[in-house]
């Protein structure tokens, strides 16, 4: 690849990312406009004793009385300068609120991702193409984890490992042990999905001619599975992982709430229940950014894993 090519490719990527972010911001703005009711009232709640003067003041301060297009332009011009505005409720810059809560969520999401991938690879390679009973049992267990609501899973894990056998603390993010149960709760439904897809891929790959060739060279079945089949089956897994990682943010809301952990989850909950517009839009942009970054990473990983893609335009 020539340098100009590379530059052009990078520029295209960046432009696309900016477009996605602007689109997300616009959609978020529109969605919040479409929520019925007066934003100030929604902010204060139906039975607030705030006087009409206070309500007017809030309305004026946030420019909520202006026409919508004016509000939008206003908001966009701030955004382009990198200013996410101030939270209505806490009166602090949105950027500092988000950055202050980012670390615990990132920690939780990465731990969950690692756990999910590890468990999925273990489960799928151990059971792919094996005895139907074993395979069926693993598959059933995975379906169970996928279909259990995560707060329920969380409470179940807490009941067993924290309330009954006090192995892990109930809540918070003070140390490593406090991360175990929340990460597991967030990882389990992902594990289920990933393992199912990976098992499919492995079974397909094991029937391919190359698997037979490898076996005939005297490789053990396990070696074939790990060294050859897994690589083939990994492509859809990567795509799916990228997509799932993005959705981890949503899962984090529930998990962080159940376990009383700090993080973006608490912010999302607050922003949505209190119609804290600047904060909500800031969070939408954050999740859009996460998705953009992840999809870029996925594309790059494809090139690393599958040499064929570096020349042809084969889509997996």
């Amino acid at each position: 690849m020539k340098a100009t090519h590379l530059l052009r490719a990078v520029a295209r990527r960046v432009a696309a990312a900016v477009a996605v972010l602007l689109g997300a911001a616009t959609v978020a703005f529109a969605a919040l406009q479409l929520i019925p009711g007066d934003p100030v009232t929604t902010m204060l709640g139906p039975f607030s004793s705030a006087s009409p003067e206070v309500r007017d003041r809030i309305r004026a301060q946030y420019g909520l009385g202006e026409p919508v297009w004016q509000q939008y332009l206003h908001y966009l011009s701030h955004l382009l300068r990198g200013d996410l505005g101030e939270s209505y409720q806490v009166q602090r810059p949105v950027s500092s609120l988000i950055s202050g809560q980012l670390a615990p969520t990132a920690q939780l999401a990465l731990a969950a991702l690692a756990v999910a991938l590890l468990l999925a690879v273990l489960s799928a390679t151990a059971t792919a193409g094996r005895r139907p009973v074993l395979r069926g049992a693993a598959s059933l267990l995975e379906l169970l984890t996928v279909s259990s609501p995560s707060y329920w899973t969380g409470i179940l894990l807490l009941t067993v490992f924290s309330f009954h056998w006090q192995l892990f603390p109930v809540a918070g993010a003070q140390n490593g042990t406090a991360l175990v149960l929340p990460a597991l709760t967030l990882a389990l439904p992902m594990t289920g999905v990933l393992a199912q897809v990976l098992r499919e891929g492995l079974e397909t790959a094991l029937h391919e001619p190359f698997a037979v060739t490898a076996r005939s060279r005297g490789l053990s079945t396990t070696a074939v599975r790990l060294r050859h089949a897994l690589r083939h089956a990994a492509l859809p897994l990567i795509t799916l992982t990228g997509w799932l990682a993005g959705s981890l943010l949503g899962g984090a809301v529930l998990v962080e709430t159940v376990f009383g952990r700090p993080g973006i989850g608490a912010l999302i909950l607050q922003a949505t229940t209190n119609k804290d517009m600047p904060l909500a839009i800031g969070l939408v942009l954050l999740s859009a950014l996460v998705f953009v970054v992840l999809s870029t990473l996925v594309d790059l990983l494809y090139l690393v894993i599958d040499p064929r893609l570096r020349t042809d335009q084969v889509t997996p």
């Binding site: 607030s48 602090r92 409470i155 807490l158 809540a171 159940v258 009383g260």
Partner: protein, 551 residues
């Protein structure tokens, strides 16, 4: 003038709150405090699991009970209200009230300092009250507590005069709340609107210092070693016994209860009714239950539209709901059914209403017949001139429904269906819900309203207090007597005199069938048996100044 609560009370959107209460028989469990047997020991750390988290920590801005209840440990007030409703000296060693109830003069203690070293004086009082009414503060609650405030005058360094444009009897009670507590003027000057973020910037004179706040997880308070000015009603005047008091934010009921049972927290708030009976001394746990003062959980009937313009229909609904059975079956006996719109834990409660409007489906049916709803349609509902007797009672968005009010609502719906009345419960989003309610477009609304003062009845029944104006009058009716009595209640400080007005208000509201009081909201806490000296205050919030940990 008060907030609703998310858990023990119905509606709360930007609000989440707790309930409150004064002393009185409670529905279940033990009384309003833990034992304080033995000699208190100093030291140790207590963790308290609560169900909601403050949005803003600024006491001058916030309308949340959770904010007030946590900040109560950090901020002191001019006067202290005990759980009998009596007022005692606190930061003010004495006070006088002018005959016309428009001027309150407070003589302040001279030995009080803020935890940043700033002395507490008349100037500090003025700075705080003026900040509350400054429109830039955008106070959601405290400004309302100051009512017709016209200013604070510094008479001398330790004397202040607070003046109002008209008689304002509720002021002493308002002044006893943490929302009219005092920030260090230095902190106000330095942080201003940033005080809402909580943490060490929040400097008060209270028994605890706000050390740190981790959003979504916890708030940590530590002992203020210089504290010497507790209210005279506290068990001791000096510094708190606890070294550290940690609030953990755990919104899931089962998680709080599990954490309490497994000893990971020592106190937990909002114990669900199903768990109350299982917290026994045998398990090393006690229950603290306290009825909240203010408005009980009421069904408020909108008398300004549709079938409810006819008092007979309202009365039929009031008498056709089996309140006793419904409350018992939904709450397992944890809450007491209500007979008055005002809680028994409030000054002026009218106990003579007990038993005056029992469940009587026969009478209800007769009333409906008399009102002309005597024919039935194919679905079995009553009709009049071909129109079905149908009532609209919207449901809040699921995340705001608390206390299983949706389930209690189903029981009510079933009772009324037996009478041939259809109750429609559309689930609405917050915006729509508020618009309908403010516009008086619902037939039934439901809420409790906690405040340790019977003035809360003014919010429910005075025609000026529409929800759109920050009141809670969902009856949308203008009744000269209710208006007059709720206004007169504000013009006298004599408890007996006030009680007379409010007794009349309760009776009239029930007689006009404007409300169906359902149950008395209680705050129910669970605590480990080795926690001593915590008691629920006039607002039913737990006080930790006297708390200590035994073996």
């Amino acid at each position: 003038m008060s907030r609703l609560s998310r858990r023990p009370v119905p509606l709360a959107v930007a609000t989440a709150a707790v309930l409150l209460a004064a002393a009185c028989g409670s529905g279940s469990g033990s009384g309003g405090s833990t034992s304080s047997a033995g000699k208190p020991v100093s030291g140790g750390s207590l963790t308290y699991a609560v169900d909601t988290e403050p949005v803003s920590w600024d006491i001058d801005v916030s309308q949340q009970d959770i904010t007030g209840s946590i900040q109560r440990n950090v901020f002191d007030s001019l006067v202290h209200q005990d759980d009998k409703g009596q007022f005692h000296a606190w930061l003010a060693s004495s006070w006088t009230v002018a005959k016309d109830l428009r001027t309150y003069t407070f003589h302040l203690r001279k030995d009080v300092t803020f935890t940043d070293g700033t002395p507490f004086d008349a100037q500090a009082v003025k700075a705080n009250f003026d900040r509350i009414v400054d429109p830039a503060t955008k106070s959601q609650y405290a400004a309302g507590l100051l009512g017709p405030y016209t200013g604070t005058k510094v008479v001398d360094p330790y004397t202040v005069q607070v003046t109002f444009s008209k008689a304002f009897a509720p002021f002493l009670q308002a002044a006893s709340t943490p929302y009219l507590g005092f920030y260090s003027p230095a902190a106000i000057a330095k942080y201003g609107s940033k005080l809402g973020a909580g943490g060490p910037a929040d400097v008060g004179t209270g028994p605890f210092v706000f050390s740190s706040y981790t959003k979504g997880q916890s708030a940590v308070l530590t002992r203020n070693p210089k504290y010497r000015w507790a209210p005279s009603t506290d068990a001791h005047q000096g510094p708190a016994y606890l070294d550290k008091l940690t609030y953990r934010f755990l919104s899931q009921d089962s998680v709080r209860v599990g954490a309490l049972r497994s000893g990971q927290v020592q106190v937990a708030k909002s114990i669900p009714p199903t768990d109350v009976k299982t917290l026994t001394p045998g398990a090393g746990l006690t229950v603290i239950s306290k009825q909240a003062p203010g408005g009980v959980y009421n069904l408020v009937l909108n008398a300004s539209r549709g079938p409810f313009t006819d008092q007979r229909v309202r009365q039929a609904v009031q008498r056709g709901i089996n309140v006793d059975a419904d409350v018992k079956s939904v709450y397992f006996g944890a809450y007491q059914r209500a007979w008055s719109p005002l809680s028994p834990a409030t000054l002026g409660y009218d106990s003579s209403l007990t038993g005056t409007w029992p469940y009587d489906p026969t009478l209800a049916a007769k009333l409906l017949d008399q009102a002309g709803w005597s024919t039935r349609d194919s679905a079995g509902y009553r009709t009049k001139n071909g129109k079905r007797l149908s009532l609209v009672w919207p449901l809040m968005p699921q995340n705001l429904v608390s206390q299983q009010h949706d389930i209690l609502g189903q029981a009510v719906q079933a009772d009324l269906k037996k009478l041939g009345i259809q109750v429609e419960r559309p689930r609405q989003d917050v915006g729509t819900f508020v618009k309908q309610l403010f516009g008086g477009k619902d037939d039934i609304s439901d809420y409790s309203w906690s405040r340790a003062d019977p003035d809360v009845l003014r919010l429910y029944f005075n025609s000026a207090e529409t929800p759109a104006k920050g009141g809670a009058n969902g009856t949308f009716i203008k009744d000269a007597d209710l208006d007059r009595w709720t206004e007169q209640g504000q013009t006298t400080l004599d408890p007996a005199g006030r009680a007379r007005y409010y007794t009349q208000v309760q009776k009239r509201a029930v007689d006009l069938s404007l409300v169906v009081p359902m149950y008395v909201v209680s705050s129910v806490y669970g605590a480990s048996s080795h926690v001593h000296g915590i008691a629920a205050d006039a607002n039913t919030w737990l006080e930790f100044h006297d708390a200590w940990l035994g073996k």
